[in-house]
């Protein structure tokens, strides 16, 4: 019986099926907001208000021919999409939406799960690089190298920004951090600077404009995904969608005070808060132009890193006053 | 500097080597012999500030080829024309004087078969690489047979 519950837990509710549905919904929401910001219509004709457009894209890609370049490293080339999806789905399980109760913590809520979440979220970047490297296409090697260069840029500020509220809450467990800020909502204001830094860093992690150089179509065709097609490309796009959902869920937990109110109400606040963060990500995407790779690295180290350190400093000072 | 003043100065300066005619306002046509091309263009550039070359037009007059260099200054439009015999169409290159001229010289080379001596890079340009040598499309004696248009499908 417990095995069935775990299987259901893994495959249906917080697992793949739910993440697939919510990932495609958030992609639709992102495309619709981005279009409306640009005074355009966005997807409208597939399903009601174009809701099924990402699903349609997904199944269209699944039906397409799946080409594997013969010079590619076959084993790695085929395994990577599935591995990327698995990594991102597991990080989805750690969100304190479905294991919110502090008293009876499920097996996915343990002390230190924020560190595991951050680690799992930085793995897809590595998967992208390996995908680019293994497909031996020159455009994708360029894209892969750019992915890694950007990784060194935004990773440190992201970790600093996300971990400073945990330092203030004095615990590494997502559920406890969320509970801490639910009791003292005033302390959320301390982390506003960290929230901004984390937003920009997540925008870079998801490779969206202004940081979408790795697959800038006007310069290097498809970037990391040049050689991918058919099912593998569909899986990669799904991975990026779910990564967006999980990353915004993490930011909501840490910066917007988690998801109070038991199962149903907690899920509702989860949806509202992640959609709010995805709206902010779309806004950044509509606001700026793509910047060159060297400008990204210098921007990360000259602007993001100092702000993140400042945020950490503020957190330590406030912690001192509190105790 | 009105047209008349310029004509007077040109007459004084280049004298015997050029014939000038002025068909319209701000339009001057200077006819010179082929060997005089480079000295006249240098003189125009240094003394009269003629630096901007709009383009070079080639013409097939039957017995000879005519080459017109369209220069322009903020006040007038000077067109220097020379003629080269059809058997040995050779002319000196003015790219050392005006770097922008390389384009147009390569075009007349391609289209008329006029050999431009001293051109920095004489590779074929516009015509495809497998274009048969000795074929110069803009010559009057070069004809192409228009293929009959075949529309696929349905009764014609």
């Amino acid at each position: 019986m417990a095995v069935l519950r775990t299987l259901l837990y893994l495959l249906v509710y917080p697992g793949l099926l739910f993440l697939f549905v919510y990932g495609t919904f958030s992609e639709w929401y992102d495309r619709k907001v981005y279009a409306r910001l640009q005074n355009r219509m966005g997807p409208t004709h597939t399903g009601r208000f174009g809701l099924l457009q990402p699903v349609a894209d997904f199944f269209k890609l699944m039906a397409k021919e799946d080409v594997v370049p013969d010079a590619a490293d076959k084993g790695l080339f085929n395994a990577l999409p599935a591995f990327g999806l698995a990594v991102v789905a597991t990080s989805g399980l750690l969100l304190p939406v479905w294991n919110f109760s502090l008293a009876a913590p499920g097996w996915t809520s343990f002390s230190g799960d924020i560190i595991v979440m951050l680690y799992l979220l930085s793995l897809p970047t590595l998967v992208l690089f390996l995908a680019a490297w293994s497909s031996t296409n020159l455009f994708s090697t360029i894209g892969g190298a750019r992915v890694l260069t950007m990784l060194f840029g935004y990773e440190v500020p992201l970790f600093l920004a996300v971990l400073s509220p945990a330092v203030l809450a004095g615990s590494w467990r997502l559920a406890e951090i969320a509970a801490f800020y639910q009791q003292r909502p005033a302390l959320l204001l301390v982390n506003v600077l960290g929230f901004l830094v984390a937003l920009v860093a997540v925008q870079a992690k998801l490779e969206r404009t202004p940081f979408d150089i790795p697959h800038a179509e006007t310069e290097i065709v498809g970037g990391t995904f040049t050689e991918y097609s058919g099912k593998k490309l569909a899986l990669f796009r799904l991975t990026t969608d779910i990564e967006m959902v999980v990353a915004s869920g993490l930011l909501a937990t840490v910066f917007l005070g988690g998801f109070p109110g038991g199962a149903l109400l907690g899920f509702a606040s989860f949806v509202i808060k992640t959609l709010f963060i995805i709206f902010l990500l779309s806004l950044i995407r509509a606001l700026t132009s793509r910047i060159r790779i060297d400008q990204v690295v210098s921007f990360a180290w000259r602007v993001l890193a100092p702000l993140a350190v400042l945020q950490l400093l503020a957190t330590i000072l406030v912690k001192g006053f509190l105790s | 500097m009105t047209d008349a003043e310029l004509i007077a100065k040109l007459q004084a300066d280049l004298g015997g080597r050029i014939e000038i005619d002025n068909p319209g306002p701000r339009r001057l046509f200077l006819k010179i012999a082929a060997p005089d091309l480079v000295p006249v263009v240098t003189r125009l550039r240094d003394a009269f500030g003629v630096v901007f070359l709009s383009t070079i037009s080639g013409l097939d007059l039957g017995a000879t080829f005519e080459i017109i260099y369209h220069f322009s200054t903020p006040t007038q439009d000077l067109n220097v024309r020379t003629e080269v015999p059809r058997e040995a169409p050779r002319v000196a290159s003015i790219t050392p004087l005006i770097p922008g001229a390389i384009l147009y010289e390569r075009e007349i080379q391609d289209m008329f078969g006029i050999v431009v001596e001293g051109i920095p890079d004489g590779r074929p340009l516009l015509l495809p690489d497998d274009w048969p040598a000795g074929q110069f499309p803009l010559r009057k004696d070069w004809h192409y047979d228009r293929p009959v248009e075949v529309i696929p499908g349905g009764e014609s």
């Binding site: 020159l138 793509r290 | 384009l103």
Partner: protein
């Protein structure tokens, strides 16, 4: 170690088939070779088999964006050959449509420059406002792209009061929007970071390489055919030549938006001063033997037609040099100073209308040593570890 990267003829950044072969060393491009001829249509040969009226429509199809420029330049030359003077009202309408086309072409370029730099919202907004001028052109001439409003001896359609009023308030909204884009184009930090100090073309190089149009004017060289060799209407209007002296892509953005603002003033003056009278005069079918050179300021630069007539219905020789060709020499120079990641932006900055230049010629610079063919992406990898001493990062502060 010198590599030679091919871009094109098919490449996402290029809207038309042209092949750029760049020889680079490390990060800097040392030599560029542009190869044309991929959609050469032999227009000059075709023109010799068509009569004067049919040639108008052939000239219009040299380029999709500046079709009216080529048609007007051609019709001016033919009218001079046939010694007929089109009525004043016809001339005003003709040059009103050419200014409207300049607005539509500059707005199109502004959007594409934004898209090349990745600033898609700017692209969407600029092209949404471009629809205003496209609708005006469709109302005046009956078609959005090839207006075909020119005929030998004048224009084919007249303007009535409602059309004039709609043009005026269309221009009013466009002026507000253009000022807003001037503000955005120069103040959005991520966009300016991509265009300031990129594609440097100092003034003496612009003069030596005979650059034309906004590319030359952005390097401080105020050459404009409408001022130097004013045809018909331009000497009766008050307007200035728009220039900037930052010599880079930012300067070209500024020059083009200033030219937009000048065009709005000119259109308003033309509409106020539109004389009464008929719009065309009958033209003979044959032209007297003779030759003429006609020049016109197309949106991309100076357009020059040389026509020689031999007394029959068909031209003896028709030579067309489109503005983009004049800028290729300057493009090679700019690419040489450029970085690999800026290639699409530098090339888009001269607003290349490749099909315009297609009837003529390639440009090449002295080749340096042998070259081995390596694909573009190998080059881009070098774009990553860019040396800290960015080669020529001109301190391009905002000229205002």
């Amino acid at each position: 170690m010198s590599f030679n990267i091919p871009i094109g003829p098919q490449h996402p950044a290029l809207k038309e088939p042209i092949s750029l072969r760049m020889t680079i060393e490390g990060e800097v491009i040392t030599d560029a070779d542009i190869r044309l001829g991929y959609n050469h249509r032999g227009i000059e040969k075709l023109a010799e088999e068509r009569n004067w009226i049919q040639n108008i429509y052939l000239m219009e199809r040299i380029c999709g964006i500046c079709s009216h420029s080529h048609a007007t330049c051609y019709v001016q030359a033919v009218e001079r050959l046939m010694e007929i003077a089109p009525p004043k009202r016809g001339m005003y309408i003709r040059y009103l449509v050419s200014e409207l086309e300049r607005i539509h072409s500059h707005l199109l370029w502004l959007g594409v420059a934004g898209h090349e730099a990745g600033f898609d919202s700017f692209f969407m907004y600029v092209w949404r406002d471009r629809e205003i001028v496209m609708d005006l052109l469709e109302m005046v001439s009956g078609n959005r792209v090839h207006y075909a409003i020119n005929t030998v001896g004048g224009v084919r359609r007249d303007l009535d009061e409602t059309q004039k009023a709609r043009i005026l308030d269309g221009i009013a909204t466009l002026r507000k929007r253009s000022e807003y884009y001037l503000h955005i184009g120069a103040n959005e930090p991520s966009f300016v970071a991509r265009i300031a100090g990129v594609g440097l073309l100092p003034k003496e190089q612009a003069v030596a390489l005979c650059a034309v149009g906004p590319t030359a004017r952005a390097s401080g060289w105020d050459r404009d055919v409408r001022k130097e060799d004013p045809y018909a209407v331009y000497d009766e209007l008050e307007w200035q030549v728009a220039t900037a002296d930052t010599c880079d892509v930012l300067g070209r953005v500024v020059v083009r938006i200033k030219e937009l603002l000048e065009s709005y003033n000119m259109i308003e003056q033309m509409i106020k001063k539109l004389p009464a009278g008929d719009i065309a005069v009958r033209a003979p079918r044959k032209a007297k033997p003779g030759e003429t050179v006609s020049r016109y300021e197309a949106p991309r630069g100076e357009n020059i037609h040389y026509i020689k007539a031999n007394g029959t219905e068909k031209p003896e020789r028709l030579k067309v040099r489109a503005p983009t060709l004049g800028n290729y020499a300057a493009t090679v120079f700019m690419l040489k100073k450029g970085f690999v990641a800026d290639i699409p932006l530098i090339f888009a900055a001269i607003d290349p209308c490749i099909c315009c230049a297609e009837r003529v010629v390639t440009l090449v610079d002295g080749r340096s040593g042998a070259s081995s063919l390596v694909s573009l992406s190998d080059l881009r990898r070098r774009a990553l570890d860019r040396p800290a001493n960015a080669l020529v990062k001109g301190k391009a502060e905002w000229p205002f």
